[in-house]
Symmetry: C2
Subunit: 277 residues, 2 copies
């Protein structure tokens, strides 16, 4: 049974200590926030829905890999609200046991997205096999437990420090500019009013008519609002129909969001606000 | 040295025999096409660029997981052209050695996207660990080589048949409607004229002004053309700027694509045509 004198963790993230998501959680909740590591993104949602923790941290977009698969689908399906966001710079290090060297490596473990961001490294070292696991920082733990000198991991410098591992190479991602954007999630009931909102995330469907998207976006265009993300999403039950996800950011503070959302609602179907912050 | 009497394979796909991508390749190139299995999506592009094969097959979008990470980025970076497309229905089976049963399983191997599509199965069987590997059909091969009765794979029925494995459960994906869309790739020099085109795929950047996307899409809206996909993509070197990818399909055959693309070009920056078919 849980000790009632111990406060529950404030935020849940996917991965294990040393993960980039943990860094995002501290950026969003403060550096002393107690955090709950989760095995999957779905588990992060479940932890907030079960009130095991107040907030969740969700990676949604990476500058090299694009939109994180299933991130927005989970946000839609599970009914949490996005109430904040942050960007974390991703610098991948090659990390191994103290005794090893790159020449001895045969396998490198990491999250599939991290492996995908280091294609040049694997091209230059064709004798090394890329092995996917669910967690960058967890990969460092596995490599250290394994102890063999022919297996390394790709993760953050901090993950190396936490596990007492050695950094064999730094910044091995294909492009120096590599960042991931994270949303801060809370129960939908905690959503604030639209006053003071700088950014909103909405989804909608559109009637099957040429021009329907342009007509809807016209309502955004006439205001001082930037479209910072747009994406069509296949609809599960209707394989040839599409829903749309858009993120809008105010250029100036004085946007009447309630009016804008009403106008958008009139030009679309099933509009839902997934976040406002 | 290659035997000059043996014709090179006609198409490259990511995965191994029994993969959904192989099925897509046969749908696009005919059921008797000789195919080259590749370890990664980047290898598929390389095989076409090196003329090891004429065509490549690229999964771009799944109805449950959304856009395939890096698929469009590779299309942009490597300079091949999309000249056709197909949809493949994805039905995941749970596949193991003949001697096993679900109750005995401790680990299930598959591609991360396939594991993500079967979250309900893993929720109902919390004693089973999901283990990512790079290839659904390859996971069946690993399971059969391993031989232990506590490891199974998630892949197609055809992968089970090819490896002489047993199907322990069928259609274990979260939603029955589960399909992936694939593009057929060829060297950009082989791109046809726009005559007879039904669909085009283009990318562009936009000036940083509210309303610039709505203005560009107005050129699509005034014609009998459906927007079948739209996505903003982060730009590597400019972390706060976005490029856009759109796919457009003619509602009627008589679209003047050259004129439409000229109009779009005048309202956007760096417009590139990635495919027309």
């Amino acid at each position: 049974m849980a000790d009632p004198t111990i406060e529950p963790p404030e935020g849940a993230y996917q991965g294990s200590p040393g993960a980039y998501s943990e860094e995002a959680a501290w950026a969003l909740l403060g550096p002393s926030a107690r955090l709950l590591p989760c095995a999957s993104l779905a588990d992060v949602f479940d932890a907030v829905l079960a009130a095991d923790t107040k907030y969740g941290v969700l990676p949604v977009e990476n500058s090299l890999a694009g939109t994180v698969p299933r991130a927005y689908e989970l946000l839609l399906d599970r009914g949490l609200a996005a109430i904040g966001e942050t960007r974390v710079r991703i610098d991948h290090a090659l990390i191994g046991p103290p005794s090893t060297s790159i020449a001895r490596l045969r396998r490198v473990l990491s999250h599939p997205v991290a492996l995908d961001q280091c294609t040049k490294f694997f091209r230059h070292h064709p004798h090394i096999e890329a092995v996917p696991v669910f967690d960058t920082a967890g990969a460092v733990g596995m490599v250290m437990q394994n102890g063999a000198g022919d297996v390394a991991a790709i993760a953050s410098r901090r993950a190396a420090a936490l596990h007492g591992a050695t950094i064999l190479a730094e910044r091995i991602q294909d492009h120096d500019e590599n960042w991931t954007r994270f949303l801060l999630l809370a129960p939908a009931s905690s959503r604030s009013t639209l006053t003071g909102t700088r950014k909103t995330i909405v989804t909608f469907r559109l009637p099957h008519e040429p021009g329907s998207l342009a007509r809807a976006l016209q309502h955004v265009a006439v205001r001082d609002v930037n479209l910072t993300k747009i994406e069509s999403r296949p609809i599960h039950e209707r394989p040839f129909e599409y829903a749309f996800l858009i993120e809008m950011a105010a250029v100036e503070a004085a946007v009447d969001w309630a009016e804008l959302l009403d106008d958008l609602r009139s030009a679309t179907l099933d509009l839902r606000v997934l976040g406002a912050f």
